[in-house]
């Protein structure tokens, strides 16, 4: 039997990230604490290099490699670029935060980069096996990251909860995968799709597998009723880690759904559409209602994430190319908003002070008008007010739902987005209408300030001219 080496060119960015991560791991061992910024620099360099490689090899037509387990296509490449971008922002925002808390260690960056690699694998997976591998690589990195501050009991509890529930979800996913393998005889998504198309929807084992798969995915996404871990993890983890969990992995999760449900099991759309409708309705309702009662802003944003996941599912369940493009646009915009929101939270934290409560935002306009403005833009964008990117995201998914006749679902969505606007407004109220209880200056390094400004302004720019990003999304999904 001859061994034919697969084509490694399409996985060049992945190989680069893997090599660099190992290099960071080794180099970091030889560094003293005061030289730790070298680790940080290397990590950013890795992301930059990966971005360049992805850009240079940008796939205009899909290429499969690794014996069908891996695909490089435009959707994957676009998502990867945003994964690098948001991860780079995460590393930057958390740098000073980590340093002030004596958490400025190589582990954070190594685990973060392995997480990025996991996401890249998820995004480009073309078989159920590689989907699972990527997901686990990401999840295991995240479990460890949550407890990066190992002396914090809250973080330990959150990590434990995350680990147990996450493992359960992985189990469900594997069980679903094994059933699908049993029904179709393959894990390659193309072959699964062919077999599923031939057998039709009557195959009980296949549908059974689909149910487990959707349950597993919902766990990872944090869709209601599988969301219980999400608020605890968001609140318990150090803000720098919450920032990471809350941003780039959502892009990977979107890709996961696209690969498995749409590419692999597209012929079962009638089945998974109903499941996603239930998940979307519950997520939008629960997320928005419970967020109102929160006083901790990280927990509030966790529930807000849940509701945004619901909206994103609205686009996917429409089951049309427009709907997928809308969901992709939604996810990208959401990640930009989440990175910005947690970024502002992290910048408000100082040595010995953790900005966690909505009240910590009181009077921000008096203390730092520009940061206040950025945070207001992010909140208004999350609420879906126009001239901000969040509005177009909501509009596109609603339009996708209306186009396939799900008008009631769109009405449900907008009603709850009005309810949701309340808690975003409450943050703006604290920033602008209340007087500050603290007088300490907010210290922000110049590079962070530039990036947070760019982050906030990007929402306005996309809001004024959403066409570019919309086109990228729909073109990426076409081929």
């Amino acid at each position: 039997m001859n061994f034919v080496a697969p084509d490694f060119m399409p996985v060049l960015p992945e190989l680069f990230v893997l090599t660099m991560t190992c290099l960071v791991l080794v180099v970091d061992v030889f560094l003293e604490q005061r030289q730790r910024h070298i680790t940080y620099g290397l990590a950013q360099l890795t992301l930059l290099g990966a971005a360049l490689l992805t850009l240079v090899t940008y796939a205009h037509a899909p290429v499969t490699t690794m014996f069908g387990h891996y695909v490089k296509d435009a959707m994957g490449d676009l998502l990867k670029l945003f994964i690098y971008l948001s991860s780079a922002a995460v590393f930057l925002y958390s740098r000073d935060y980590l340093r002030r808390r004596n958490l400025f260690k190589g582990e954070y960056y190594v685990l973060g980069l392995f997480g990025v690699l996991g996401m890249m694998v998820m995004v480009s997976a073309h078989s159920l096996l590689s989907v699972y591998l990527g997901l686990e690589l990401l999840s295991l990195s995240l479990y460890a990251l949550v407890v990066v501050d190992r002396d914090s009991p809250v973080a330990s509890e959150a990590a434990m909860k995350y680990f147990v529930l996450g493992s359960l979800a992985s189990g469900m996913l594997l069980y679903g995968i094994s059933m699908i393998y049993g029904a179709t005889g393959s894990v390659d998504l193309q072959l699964v799709a062919d077999a599923a198309g031939k057998q039709g929807v009557d195959n009980l084992v296949l549908v059974f597998g689909l149910v487990f798969l959707v349950v597993g995915l919902s766990f990872k996404l944090g869709a209601v009723p599988f969301h219980m871990w999400l608020p605890d993890v968001y609140q318990g983890a150090p803000t720098s880690v919450t920032l990471f969990i809350g941003s780039a992995p959502k892009l990977a999760a979107f890709a996961l759904i696209m690969r498995v449900l749409v590419e692999g099991l597209g012929s079962l759309q009638g089945d998974w559409q109903q499941m996603l409708v239930i998940l979307a309705v519950l997520s939008i309702a629960t997320g928005n209602l419970i967020a109102i009662a929160q006083t901790n802003i990280k927990r509030m944003l966790a529930y807000s994430t849940i509701s945004h996941i619901g909206f994103m599912l609205l686009g996917i369940l429409a089951g049309t190319p427009d709907g997928y493009a809308a969901a992709m646009f939604y996810t990208i915009v959401y990640v930009l908003m989440a990175v910005g929101a947690f970024g502002v939270i992290i910048l408000l934290s100082r040595t010995g002070f953790e900005a966690e409560n909505i009240d910590d935002f009181k009077g921000l306009n008096d203390r730092h008008p520009w940061l206040a403005f950025v945070m207001m833009m992010i909140m208004m964008s999350m609420a879906g007010v126009p001239f901000l990117a969040g509005f177009y995201a909501k509009w596109m998914v609603l339009q996708a739902a209306v186009n396939v006749g799900l008008v009631w679902l769109a009405i449900f969505g907008v009603v709850f987005s009005v309810i949701g606007a309340f808690y975003y407004l409450r943050v703006v109220k604290c920033i602008y209408f209340d007087k500050s209880e603290q007088s300490e200056l907010i210290e922000i390094s110049l590079d962070t300030e530039i990036i947070i400004s760019v982050n906030g302004l990007l929402l306005v720019v996309i809001g004024l001219y959403p066409t570019a990003l919309m086109t990228w999304c729909s073109v990426a999904l076409l081929n």
Binding site: N365, M380, Y392, V402, V414, V415, L425, F433, T471
Partner: protein
């Protein structure tokens, strides 16, 4: 040469960019920020004047059109243009912005640059609402207005400002999201977001009724019509003077404008079917809200309720046309209804804005809005008393002031539909006079109420300028309304032709 400039874009983006510039000047340079704001506001008004002078009032087609693709994926265009309905409202907006900037000149001490910038941005967005010919562009401007107004009420407002501003935001937001669904639905039917394409889009009665309710919800909250008016008294009372003026003078008009631009022409059959509903709501506003205004103890609240009652006239005028058409079979009287509603909108913009400014003048001196704290103001502030009495008379609909024209036209046209409708509407002449004149009597006339009133100083030059501008406008429109009615005449005729032809 002037007509080749993109005047509408200029009127929208110049104040918005000016507002951003004012933000950058910052609160550390209040003098420079104020001067810049006033310059931008006056220039914006000057840019909007050619819209009036170059306007061709013989045609109902859109003028000063600008068309650029904006979001081609969903065929959304940056499409601007004005007709006889929107052009006067754009002028009103630009004019009131100047007045508001003057009004806030010395009064606002806290974060003056942010205050001024908010009003400039607000002005640009409101002009955008009136100029947009693409439904999505309209919606975007319509919603974006919420942010500056939310901040204006919340930062510079009174003691209960947080409650008032969140209520304002959520009410309006809830009203408009249904409109968004309606717009998306119509896009899925027509593959276009052009408002004029929506006008031609055939829709079944069932669809029309649902879309009509979506519009009704969105615009009735904005107008505001009874029973969704409760945000207005709160917002008005808590807002700073400038905020109240803009709310009353312009944002309420957007609701009325929305009926003319969307609800009536897009869903004529549903509007015909359900005109009784809107007319009932309008008459409740006219009669019941007038009675509510009568018992108010707070001057601002009284004027707020009076605004609701006066806006009831506007919606009555717009929807009475179906009754006239059914009753007489001709359109001749119907013109009067819609034109009356439009005149009422513009006139109410001047009068209510002026009354809020008057209350603001008093409040700045006494820090009270309670009627009982005043009395005999005429003795210490004769010039001010003259203005306030003039605006009070205009509010009561005295002939010779702009308040009379609109009300008279609407009442006249309702007579052609139904005597009792007209009778109920005409009670406003009585009730409006009652609550306004009683307010004037208690605040302005009589003996000096207390030592604080005795120490009042009369209006400054700045205040005379802002009140004088409005007084001139009220009187001019009162004796010579023709420039206003003649520019809208062709558009009104066109609209009537359109809405009386069934879409079914």
């Amino acid at each position: 040469m002037l007509s080749e400039l993109p005047l509408l874009s200029l009127a929208i983006w110049f104040p918005i960019l000016g507002g951003v510039a004012v933000l950058f000047v910052g609160d550390d340079n209040p003098g420079r920020a104020k001067a810049l704001t006033l310059t931008v506001a006056i220039l914006t008004f000057l840019f909007s004047i050619p819209l009036f002078t170059l306007f061709d009032s013989t045609t109902a087609t859109m003028q000063f059109e600008e068309l650029l693709p904006w979001i081609p994926a969903f065929s959304v265009n940056y499409h601007l243009g004005v007709d006889g309905f929107s052009m006067p409202l754009i002028l009103l907006t630009a004019f009131m912005t100047v007045v508001v900037v003057i009004a806030g000149w010395e009064v606002i001490q806290y974060r003056i640059a942010q205050y001024m910038a908010a009003f400039l941005i607000m002005a640009g967005l409101m002009i955008g609402v009136f100029a947009a010919l693409d439904a999505m562009l309209f919606y975007v401007f319509f919603e974006a207005m919420l942010i500056p107004m939310f901040l204006i009420i919340g930062i510079w407002g009174g003691p209960r400002r947080v409650y008032a501003t969140i209520k304002f935001f959520l009410y309006t937001f809830l009203g408009s999201v249904f409109m968004l669904i309606a717009l998306i639905y119509m896009y899925s039917q027509s593959n276009s977001f052009e408002i004029l394409d929506f006008h031609r889009l055939p829709l079944s009665l069932h669809e029309q009724v649902l879309i009509f309710f979506a519009f009704l919800l969105g615009f009735a909250v904005k107008v505001p019509m009874w029973p969704v008016h409760t945000w207005l008294p709160d917002a008005h009372v808590e807002a700073p003077t400038g905020g109240s003026v803009i709310l009353a003078a312009i944002t309420l008009k957007i609701g009325g404008y929305g009926f003319l631009r969307f609800a009536l022409p897009i869903t004529p059959d549903a509007a015909n079917l359900l005109d009784w509903l809107v007319i009932t709501m309008s008459l409740v506003a006219v009669v019941y809200i007038s009675l509510v205004a009568l018992i108010q103890q707070d001057m601002k609240k009284l004027i707020a309720y009076s605004s609701i009652a006066h806006m009831g006239f506007v919606t009555l005028g717009f929807f009475i046309v179906f009754g006239i058409y059914r009753h007489t079979g001709s359109l001749s009287g119907a013109t009067l209804g819609i034109e009356g509603g439009m005149v009422q909108m513009v006139s109410h913009g001047f009068i209510s804005g002026a009354l809020f400014l008057c209350v603001g003048v008093l409040y700045d001196r006494m820090h009270s809005r309670q009627i009982k704290d005043y009395g005999g103001v005429v003795n210490t502030m004769p010039v001010f008393a003259m203005f306030m009495v003039l605006f009070g008379m205009a509010n009561a609909g005295l002939p010779g002031t702009s308040g009379f024209i609109g009300e008279f036209m609407v009442i006249l046209s309702s007579f052609r539909a139904n005597f009792w409708l007209a009778f109920l509407a005409a009670t406003t002449l009585m009730l409006g006079a009652a609550y306004t004149l009683w307010l004037i009597k208690r605040v302005i006339f009589g003996d000096i109420g207390n030592s604080q009133v005795a120490a009042l100083e009369d209006v400054s030059t700045r205040e005379i300028v802002m009140l004088g501008l409005l007084a001139a406008a009220v009187l001019l429109l009162g004796v010579w309304p023709d420039p206003l009615t003649s520019v809208m005449h062709a558009s009104v005729e066109n609209l009537l032709q359109h809405i009386t032809a069934t879409k079914l």
